[in-house]
């Protein structure tokens, strides 16, 4: 099964990539194929950035992180996908996103996994508008915000001792 589009969800925003070349299932575990994913020069030829939609501020990033963790498609993500994927057919596989409405179940093959790993590894280089350190700074802020909200809204908050 071939993969047409990839969705990369990161702390800085959503990025849609189209797949230009991919390994076949039989060769996926070959050393050469695996090395191609690790090498930015070669991986850069396999995917092409269609669009990068950054988050406008920390609160939007947190909302989207919460939605992604619950498997919900946020309005923002829906807009991003609708404006960047061809309308006809609606058969494109949006990787990594077990979608809710229009899209089919996210593809979970090893091929897709390899491509998504490549995106995660090279994201900062593939998204040309980003500078080194942008992703990690955003991760730090988002990690704190996400974790704080988890702890705050905990139902089993059990250490509020009344003295």
């Amino acid at each position: 099964m071939s993969v047409d589009y990839l969705l990369h969800e990161s702390s800085v925003g959503y990025a849609v990539f189209s797949v230009r070349m991919q390994a076949d299932t039989v060769g996926a575990r070959l050393k050469e194929v695996q090395e191609a994913h690790t090498d930015l020069a070669r991986f850069g030829k396999m995917v092409q950035l269609v669009s990068f939609a950054p988050f406008q501020g920390a609160s939007q990033a947190l909302e989207n992180a919460n939605d992604v963790s619950e498997g919900i498609m946020s309005d923002y993500l829906q807009t991003v996908l609708e404006s960047n994927l061809p309308k006809a057919g609606k058969k494109e596989k949006k990787e990594g996103h077990p979608g809710r409405i229009e899209c089919e179940t996210g593809e979970t093959s090893e091929l897709a996994g390899d491509l998504l790993r490549g995106l995660r590894l090279h994201a900062e280089k593939l998204l040309k508008s980003l500078q080194t350190g942008d992703v990690s700074r955003a991760q730090l802020g988002l990690g704190h915000a996400y974790s704080r909200s988890k702890v705050k809204f905990s139902v089993q908050k059990n250490d509020n001792h009344i003295i």
Partner: protein
Amino acid sequence: EREAVAEVLAQRVDRELHPGVFVARGKEDLLVTKNLTPGEAVYGEKRISIDTPAPVSGDAATNGDSAPMATKTEYRVWNPFRSKLAAGILGGLEDIHMKPGSKVLYLGAASGTSVSHVADIVGPTGTVFAVEFSHRSGRDLINMATHRTNVIPIIEDARHPLKYRMLVSMVDCIFADVAQPDQARIVGLNAHQFLKVGGGVVVSIKANCIDSTAPPEQVFAREVGKLREERIKPKEQLTLEPFERDHAMVVGVYQRSG
């Protein structure tokens, strides 16, 4: 606390066991890491301050009017009875797959006491993604991370790595101390998602948590087999005696090809 620092001031830090992990020589030898936030202890551990002789550079020698500045380096004592990783290091692990600049995914971060030492090891250019599910210890973890900006706290279930996929990059090493019966599967799921090809896996296995009826050696062997199935090639295995009973530490390398 200031006295504690003064008391051990005479000690020397002279051996680097692994990049970023040192041994302080004194009345007794201590395992230490270089404090990322000098002047602060994380959980009441002892700190050791050492005078670092100023580097004699050619420039300083010619420029006589600026006296060479002696700088102080502060280390924090790492107790192997409280940290499995410290116990593993003292047990003689050959490669812990973390060094200054590394990105480490730490599963089972608890309150963050051991995580703080890993943060010392990877230093300001590295990152520790610290995953902990319990909200109670999660609060302490978040607190610790506010002082150490190379730690990203993630309060989430390590069984579902996709839930925190927006918060994590590709990492050089996964350390796991989750004490769950399906630990090998948890490690595998995270490795497939986030671990670089050739990245290290360091897992602490508590035999009791996996199967309390089988002999520990059998449990360890089974767990190593499960790690193999997750394409983690085992390289080292040791028990954590005398610091922990019926615990093993397994180190492997992630291989996606083949």
